[in-house]
Amino acid sequence: MICSGGRQRRDAVMSDPSDQLVYRLPEPFERFYEREYHSLVGLGYALTGSWPAAEDLAQEAFLAAHQAWQRISRYEQPGAWVRRVAANRAVSLRRRQLAEARSLLRLAGRRLLGADADQSQQAEEAADFWRAVRGLPRRQAQAIALFYLEGWPTAEIAGVLGCSDATVRAHLHKGRRTLARRLGAEPELGGRS
């Protein structure tokens, strides 16, 4: 449980070069919610394997953010905070709703099959990929999900997960190596991130 950092919205931030303090103009919660909702649902899906569970997870995280919005809105990265809550709650939610999630996932898959064959195949591939990710140790899975979903650099992922930049790089390195082996893909591990 360590560390900080994360994405900074340049359009809403004023930096004071004299003391390195950063003052963030509070953003209306509704705008933040609208902008981040689908990303958080995507993260929830990657970590739980269930769309209904992912929506539940995202909504719970936003409810938590709303309760403390006066404080969180002044953060440099409220998006990082809400992802941190969702990523940590995903572990317990996944356990609690595993049985329900499986059946709902099957239903969701059937609906997608009927709707669009190409999209269904992509959905199946995504499901396979995230299933392999969820088979990794928790921190590795969270780092990998943020890495591929958000395309964030390791310092920002460190801010969400509460661990050091170096630890995130180690998680990503090891996680990607294991994933490549399990998925039969080439690892492309030129660096540690």
Binding site: A64, R84, R89
Partner: protein, 364 residues
């Protein structure tokens, strides 16, 4: 297709699928739906509580003569917010001072003046501050699988100790000092814990565990090792270096500390468990409640247990009554979240995401 191309494509598809689920639901609707669910759950819990309470009340009356009378009178107060800057990720404290990991250096703060008095670069680069004890700083290097002992007065490396198999890069490493040793758990595909002898700076023994370790704490007579998702904690006897007990705890345990004759374990679901190291059982469960309630950090000063959760609330728990006697947000009005917690000379210390070390005075 290589992994990164596939991962990026999957990420893009997942975002599209999330958007295809439908428009963003109105937040008012989300609130109503979750409130209704909470009421339903509360009704079920209330029914269970009433039943249990009837039984417990009878038992408590029988034990009235043993009731605790001395409880802490106040929660405490924020005594100082010490601006250090950078990314503060770890805080540890001992009699010599408060030690904070700031990016790639360790910063010492003097608790008498609340001033930064030393900055020590961490070598090798990529290390994390694991523990302070035996007059040293102990760093972990997860990518190399090593422990580095550092002289806090000079910042010089005293010894570098490799954990068995560590060159395969463990997934995680946690550390605790106690029972005359430094204990390091490391996840290397279901490995366990190593005991480092601070007299020789060598690995004295390794203890194999059936499940992946995820944090540990040590007292003079026992070491408690968490396993994050198996629902089991292992108690190691330092006299034999063997697992003395496998204790069923919460699934998703994420922090542990020792105080008042017990180990205290923070759980993902927002509870604090009191583990009796003699009976190897959960002696009490302290509910912390609230949204985002995962109990992320536990620290103790002998007579009080302090817990911080992911909702950035600090809880003061009385180990005599096993109850929360105070709680509140301590990260300050400027907005910041907790990244670590430690108890040190006369105060509770919290690092925050915006480069501030918060000093919380328990007697304030």
């Amino acid at each position: 297709m290589n992994l990164d191309s596939r991962g990026r494509q999957v990420g893009q598809v997942t975002r599209q699928l999330a958007e295809a689920r439908g428009p963003v639901p109105p937040f008012a609707l989300v609130r109503r739906r979750h409130r209704r669910r909470a009421w339903r759950q509360a009704a079920l819990v209330a029914a269970a509580v009433i039943t249990v309470a009837a039984v417990v009340t009878v038992q408590l009356r029988q034990q009235a003569s043993e009731e605790v009378t001395s409880r802490p009178r106040s929660f405490g107060r924020v005594a100082a917010s010490i601006r250090i800057g950078g990314q503060l990720s770890v805080v540890r404290a001992d009699a010599a001072g408060v030690w904070v990991q700031r990016d790639r250096e360790v910063v010492r703060v003097d608790p008498r003046t609340n001033q930064v008095t030393a900055r020590l670069p961490m070598n090798p680069s990529g290390s994390d501050l694991g523990a302070v004890g035996d007059g040293s700083l102990w760093l972990t290097h997860i990518a190399q699988g090593t422990v580095t002992r550092v002289d806090p007065a000079t910042g010089r490396t005293v010894a570098t100790i490799g954990v068995p198999g560590g060159d395969n890069a463990p997934v995680s490493m946690s550390m605790a000092v106690g029972a005359g040793a430094v204990w390091v758990d490391y996840d290397l595909g279901g490995t366990g814990v190593v005991r480092i002898d601070p007299a020789t700076n060598t690995v004295a023994t390794a203890v194999k565990l059936a499940n992946t370790p995820a944090g540990l704490a040590a007292s003079d007579r026992a070491v408690m090792v968490l396993t994050s998702e198996s629902g089991v904690a292992y108690q190691i006897d330092p006299a034999t270096n063997r697992v003395a007990a496998s204790i069923p705890v919460c699934r998703g345990s994420n922090a542990v500390a020792y105080a008042a004759g017990a180990f205290w374990i923070g759980c993902d679901e927002g509870q604090l468990l009191r583990i009796d190291p003699v009976t190897h059982r959960v002696a009490a469960t302290v509910g912390l409640g609230g949204q985002a309630g995962s109990a992320g950090w536990v620290a103790v000063d002998g007579s009080v247990v302090w817990v911080a959760n992911l909702g950035d609330t600090l809880f003061r728990v009385d180990p005599q009554s096993n109850t929360v006697v105070g709680s509140g947000s301590v990260t300050g009005p400027a907005g910041s979240y907790i990244t670590d917690l430690a108890v040190g000379p006369g105060a509770v210390w919290l690092t925050t995401s915006q480069g501030t070390l918060v000093r919380f005075d328990p007697d304030g």
